[in-house]
């Protein structure tokens, strides 16, 4: 059977040139080995070409200008238009370093970037959360703790007495935002969880979550209009 399996394969025409085949075992063959040419083994030509490439990058990055953070963020390569810019681009071309140096320079995150959680408020300043427990149920990391309490408002009935998110446990999956039926929790703040020195400080309480805002603390209220901003999303379909 083994020989049959072997015979299934047609002898390939490519591959090393066979000079002689053993009569005892056809698998044992003498082949012509292709050695690299003298030019390749001397390494000089390749070294010269390689040095040319690295030298070009080195000179361009050393003497060139960095793109601005804005240009780096947008992936723009400015094209010289005026005569002065053209002359400058000869002396000091735009270099190829893509690094954005983080604490001083910041990359602009995409619109759908999932950042630090925030809790939204109603028009009257009450927290939008109705303590329905959807988000702690869906949370794969079990990082959300809600203790509900009753409210006087008969239309709402429940609200969270305690709403805590352990940012150390959070895996930033965004399922809580998907699960929330009343747009109470969002991850659109565009910032990261703050570094902390003690684990307890990483737990965001309700007040802290309400204070987080989209525009990085400038406007500390996070009010979501009842029914959403603008026309009803159900219309226009």
């Amino acid at each position: 059977m083994a020989s049959h399996a072997h015979d299934d394969h047609e002898p390939t025409t490519t591959g090393p040139k066979v000079l002689a085949t053993s009569t005892v075992s056809p698998k044992v063959r003498t082949i012509a080995v292709v050695r690299p040419s003298e030019q390749e083994t001397s390494y000089l030509a390749a070294t010269k070409a390689g040095l040319g490439i690295t030298l070009r990058h080195f000179a361009k990055n050393l003497f060139g200008r960095r793109r601005t953070v804005d240009q780096l963020n947008k992936g723009e390569h400015p094209v010289p238009t005026t005569a002065f810019q053209k002359a400058l681009s000869v002396v000091s071309p735009i270099n190829e370093i893509e690094t954005i140096q983080y604490p001083e320079e910041k990359a602009v995150y995409p619109e759908r970037f999932r950042g630090l959680h925030r809790l939204m408020q109603r028009d009257d300043g009450q927290v939008r959360c109705v303590a329905c427990m959807c988000c702690p149920t869906v949370c794969p990391a079990h990082c959300i703790t809600i203790i509900p309490e009753q409210t006087d408002d008969n239309g709402i009935e429940k609200r969270p007495a305690v709403f805590e998110i352990d940012e150390l446990r959070c895996v930033v999956c965004g399922l809580c935002v998907e699960a929330c039926p009343c747009d109470a929790i969002r991850m659109d703040s565009g910032t990261h969880a703050k570094p902390v020195e003690e684990r307890a400080d990483a737990v965001m309480t309700k007040d802290k979550l309400i204070a987080v805002s989209k525009d990085n603390g400038k406007n500390p209220t996070s009010i979501a209009t009842q029914g959403g901003v603008g026309p009803n999303w159900r219309e226009g379909r």
Binding site: T41, T54, N61, I97, E98
Partner: protein, 408 residues
């Protein structure tokens, strides 16, 4: 104080002091800076920024301070010695690696001879050659620690001791990978030392001396001034330059010849070392870069010579005459300069040449991938060695013809 002021030049001419000055002022800072330069340069070559953040308060200096941070880190790290190592050899190995390189700097002429009494005036070269014992030429300080007749042979001899550093480290570590690294190190060093020595034979033949000071001072031909770039060996011994450079880079155990170390994966002979003991191996490597640069600058690029700058100033045209068995360039159009300015420029030129050649070595290191062990051996024994031998024979033939035709 009288004694000091009377003997100040004798003290300055002390070889030990000159060596200390050379090592502490030029070699060690340059080698330490190379640790930063290498990372920064490789980053620039690979479109990165490299280390640029180490700072003392607001002072950043483009990250130059990283080498201080590294030194502080390595010195303050735990000096860990595994239980099974041979303690004596384990401690000896880093010293074996670094000491010979520092000793070898003794033969490098890092500057011209200084005549302190004629420092503010232009040096009268003719009077110097006629009567070297005259007042303005006494108390001369030769900026070369030791000038042996066997010159560069001393370098080959001493640097081969440095190879024991790797082998001993591998053996003393009681670790199979370290031992294999040590073996790779010894096999590579042995193969390349032969080619390295032979590649310089043509230079020795052409100049007629092994003494680096003589090579720098006189150049190839006595009929041209030593400061003429055409008189330096790079032009006449260009194949030797390439051969020597290749072998010398292999000698520094750096990419593309870094199979003794292979930091990322195959693990080298210093795998059991940590802290400053490892730092010594690391530093020895960078000092070797500086040393190789110094040797290449000395032998091939005229050492401390500034193009067309003779001892009394810039000279265009002119000719060389023999006075008291010394070749002195005279005549021509001369821009006379004080002795202080000339020596300062020549010292600066040596530093600049060393830095440029070190930069080129880093370029090579970050351009080429590592050789496989068999490629390494093939290159060493089958390419470099025959080429060096052939080039030596060609040079000898050339010299024979030149003597026969009366050129030299």
């Amino acid at each position: 104080m009288d004694w000091l002021s009377n003997n100040i030049y004798a003290i300055l001419d002390n070889p030990a002091l000159k060596w200390l000055l050379l090592v502490m002022v030029m070699v060690m800072p340059l080698a330490s800076l190379l640790t930063w330069a290498e990372r920064r340069q490789s980053a620039m070559m690979q479109d990165r920024l490299g280390p640029n953040r180490a700072n003392i308060g607001p002072i950043k200096l483009k990250g130059i301070l990283h080498f201080i941070a590294d030194a502080v880190k390595m010195i303050s790290k735990e000096d860990f010695i595994p239980g099974s190592v041979h303690r004596g050899l384990f401690a000896l190995a880093p010293i074996l690696a670094i000491a010979p390189v520092l000793i070898a700097f003794a033969i490098i002429p890092f500057g011209p001879t200084i005549y302190p009494h004629s420092y503010t005036s232009t040096l009268d070269v003719l009077a110097l050659a006629t009567d070297p014992a005259a007042k303005p030429f006494t108390d001369s300080i030769r900026l070369q620690v030791a000038s042996f007749d066997y010159g560069l042979l001393f370098y080959f001899a001493v640097l081969s001791v440095a190879n024991y550093g790797g082998v001993v480290a591998g053996w003393a570590s009681y670790n199979k990978w370290a031992l294999l690294g040590g073996l790779r190190s010894s096999s590579q060093m042995m193969s390349y030392e032969v080619a390295m020595g032979l590649s310089l034979m043509g230079c020795f033949l052409l100049v007629g001396s092994l003494e680096p000071g003589f090579i720098v001072g006189n150049g190839v031909s006595a009929q041209m001034s030593g400061s003429n770039p055409l008189n330096w060996l790079w032009l006449w011994q260009f194949p030797a330059l390439i051969l020597f450079m290749t072998a010398a880079i292999a000698e520094t155990k750096r990419a593309p010849f870094d199979i003794p170390e292979g930091e990322p994966e195959i693990i080298g002979y210093f795998v059991e070392y940590s802290g400053m003991r490892w730092g010594l191996f690391f530093l020895a490597e960078f000092i070797e870069i500086v040393f190789i640069s110094a040797v290449i600058a000395t032998v091939f690029f005229g050492g401390w010579q500034v193009p067309f700058l003779d001892a009394d100033g810039f000279r265009i045209g002119g000719y060389v005459t023999e006075i008291n068995h010394q070749w002195v360039s005279t005549g021509g159009w001369v821009l006379k300069l004080p002795h202080a300015a000339v020596t300062a420029m020549q010292l600066g030129a040596f530093g600049l040449k060393v830095i440029l050649i070190a930069w080129f070595q880093l370029m090579i290191r970050w351009t080429l991938p590592r050789f496989r062990a068999d490629q390494l051996m093939n290159l060493g024994w089958k390419v470099l060695l025959p080429c060096a031998l052939g080039w030596t024979m060609l040079t000898a033939l050339f010299k024979l013809c030149a003597i026969y035709l009366g050129w030299l």
